[in-house]
């Protein structure tokens, strides 16, 4: 079975030969992968080099956490790729950005108002959590279209705080 893995713009062709051999590009390599513990932690030995990673699927790709580094890998099987999967993710590119609470906490300050034009990096809200005040900043320039919080509000994790158009 042949797979194509894409990561940071580079495509890697990986052919599974048997349980202990793959062909990576043109080179046959010896691999041994096992799960360690009951968590999605895997130990890989590839041509003698020992690696360990936590690997779990995201909505459309795989997250690989290895030596403190996080990699996002898209994996496609050859046939799948030939058939061409519907292009996902295009929706997210367009339209609005919704600022969500990264953690539960208390809104300390909201230095913006609806209709305000903001710059990238501008503080949109100050959220207190774990005894620290955290500034939530605009990831890009835009206009605050819907403001759903005010100072003093308690918010839940992932609650939408405001919308940027």
């Amino acid at each position: 079975m042949r797979y194509f893995a894409t990561l940071e713009g580079t495509e890697y062709e990986v052919e599974i030969i048997d349980e202990h051999h793959i062909c990576l590009g043109e080179v046959v390599r010896e691999v041994d992968i096992v799960a360690v513990g009951s968590q999605p932690a895997y130990s890989l030995i590839i041509d003698g080099r020992s690696f360990e990673a936590y690997i779990y699927p995201n909505e459309k790709d795989w997250q690989v956490l290895m030596i403190g580094q996080q990699y996002q890998v898209t994996v496609e099987e050859e046939r799948e790729k030939r058939l061409g999967r519907p292009h996902e993710g295009s929706v997210a590119e367009s339209g609005e950005f919704q600022l969500k609470a990264p953690m539960p906490g208390l809104i300390i300050d909201v230095p913006v108002s609806e209709g305000l034009q903001v710059e990238k990096g501008q503080v949109l809200a100050v959220l207190e959590s774990m005894k620290m005040q955290n500034e939530l900043k605009a990831p890009r320039a835009g206009t605050v279209t819907r403001l759903r919080i005010k100072s003093g509000d308690s918010v839940e994790i992932k609650q939408t705080l405001l919308t940027l158009a």
Binding site: Y3, A5, V14, I16, Y54, W62, Q69, Y71, V73, N134
Partner: protein, 504 residues
């Protein structure tokens, strides 16, 4: 003399205190909020009582309820740990009124040192140098502060009188921005300590934060255990501490001078129990009294590791009326120790706190490694308390060995489920400035970038690609062969078979 101690705290420090009490043969009582029912301190204590809902105001800050529990369960003493009620003179006084031993200094000493302005006035009177500022001038209004500021010169700091741990603190570069910053500092101080009073303090440029650990008994004996270097901070929160200080180094004269001054400061408030005198030290080795923490310090393990003294056990002994087991000449340093505070926060995203369930922990062990923690696999990190998951401390024969050991320990440390600042500590152990001991209190904020630090780090995209493919392939196989997949669908109950031969 008490035989049962209530620990009015949570997390790693509650566990630390339980351990010390247990090693002294004392019974332990935990208190906990609804969010902490499964915490290690509740599991480890002999007794445990619920305080209330998660927010500290409704649980760990309920001093009357805590005293009430102590009386009902027969605890003769209360250890406050750090934070929460540890530096509340009224709480210490209420303990005494209730006939309970407060494991800490006298209420007067706390009050004296707790009001930063009064503390400075007190130690200045005792002949200790203080950082220039408005200390001792009472509760100044905004107008007065704005008038005094240009005399001190910029940059300067606005600090909460009742504060600690960087809360209610703001740095001011120009007079223009001062009104807004005073308001912000007062607001934060008010919400954190119920006291909005602030004072001004000159910023010592290139300053090192170096503190002296004090022990004093009820018989008039007071000694110091040498210094800790705590200059690695971010937003006035310490991130990494070490002992001895690489700045003080072999300068025994400076060490002894700071130690003697710290003992003097402690004596000025008739201090009893463990305490820490914090100094700012400038490039010319002039040192200024900053504040005194009238409690156990987060970073006490580094001092324990190089002196061999169990500071928490010593606190309890002092509270039991014992004489100090050591005289100043008994205190000997050996090697070097470093502590890394492992926090649930994302160093790649402006150190944003991270909450969630810790699904996996593999903690470093082995020679010279100590972990203090209140969490374990499957523990939930909540947003209610500080983000500290654990303190990772290492000891080495030399500072160099301690750094290499810290690197090794950080590499071994696996925490999955929340973001942690382990990558920050890793880059710090590789930083030339840290290796050379050349850092001041502004280093992390002004000169540190994790992206910059990691740019030479070896990456393994090809390996990541291979691993993702192999796991995806496995999963595809398992989905195909439904039988095999079902084998893995093991419910909790089916696992019971595994426990057959179990015994502690």
């Amino acid at each position: 003399m008490f035989n049962k101690v209530l620990i009015a705290n949570r997390g790693e420090i509650a566990v630390r205190i339980i351990r010390a009490c247990r090693e002294l043969g004392l019974e332990t009582v935990a208190v906990y909020s609804e969010a902490d029912r499964q915490s290690l301190h509740v599991r480890y204590a002999d007794e445990a009582y619920l305080l209330g809902p998660a927010p500290a105001r409704e649980s760990y800050l309920r001093s009357h309820k805590i005293i009430d529990i102590a009386r009902k369960c027969g605890a003769g003493a209360i250890h406050p740990g750090y934070g929460f009620l540890a530096e509340r003179a009224d709480f210490a006084a209420a303990c005494a009124d209730a006939g309970l031993t407060f494991i800490g200094p006298k209420p007067d000493s706390i009050a004296n040192m707790g009001d930063k302005a009064m503390a400075r006035a007190t130690v200045a009177n005792a002949g200790v140098a203080v950082v220039p500022g408005t200390e001792g001038r009472g509760n100044l209004g905004d107008e007065e502060l704005l008038a005094i500021a240009p005399q001190l010169g910029f940059p300067l700091l606005i600090k909460a009188q009742a504060g600690g741990g960087g809360k209610g603190m703001r740095q001011v570069s120009h007079l223009d921005e001062m009104p807004t910053l005073i308001a912000a500092a007062r607001r934060e101080a008010e919400s954190s300590f119920g006291d909005g009073n602030v004072y001004l303090e000159k910023v010592v440029q290139g300053a090192r934060h170096i503190e002296i650990q004090i022990l004093a008994d009820t018989h008039g004996n007071a000694i110091h255990l040498g210094e800790r270097e705590c200059s690695l901070q971010r937003r006035h929160q310490k991130l990494l501490e070490e002992a001895p200080s690489p700045f003080v180094g072999d300068d025994e004269e400076l060490r002894e001078k700071m130690g003697a001054v710290a003992v003097q400061a402690a004596r000025a408030v008739d201090y009893v129990n463990a305490g820490t005198v914090e100094f700012l030290v400038d490039k010319d080795r002039q040192f200024y009294f900053l504040e005194m923490n009238t409690r156990l310090q987060v970073e006490h393990p580094v001092t324990e590791m190089i002196t061999g003294i169990d500071i928490v056990a010593e606190q309890v002994r002092i509270a039991r009326g014992r004489q100090l087991a050591y005289q100043q000449d008994d205190i000997q340093r050996r090697g070097a120790a470093i502590e890394a505070r492992v926090n649930a926060e994302d160093p790649y995203n402006n150190f944003m706190p991270s909450t969630g369930k810790i699904t996996h922990i593999l903690a470093p062990t082995g020679p010279g490694v100590r972990v203090d923690t209140g969490v374990y696999t499957d523990f939930e990190i909540t947003p209610y308390y500080d983000p500290m998951i654990s303190k990772l401390s290492v000891w080495g024969e030399t500072r160099g060995q301690a750094i290499l050991r810290m690197r090794r320990a950080l590499e071994e440390y696996k925490i999955v489920g929340v973001h942690t600042n382990i990558p920050f500590h890793q880059t710090m152990m590789d930083s030339h400035r840290f290796l050379a001991g050349q850092y001041d209190t502004r280093f992390v904020e002004e000169r540190y970038s994790i992206v910059e630090m990691e740019k030479d780090k070896e990456k393994f995209p090809e390996i990541a690609a291979v691993m993702a493919v192999l796991v995806a392939h496995r999963r595809a196989l398992e989905t195909t062969h439904v039988m095999r997949r079902n084998e893995r669908d093991t419910s909790n109950w089916k696992w019971f078979g595994r426990w057959e031969r179990m015994r502690g």
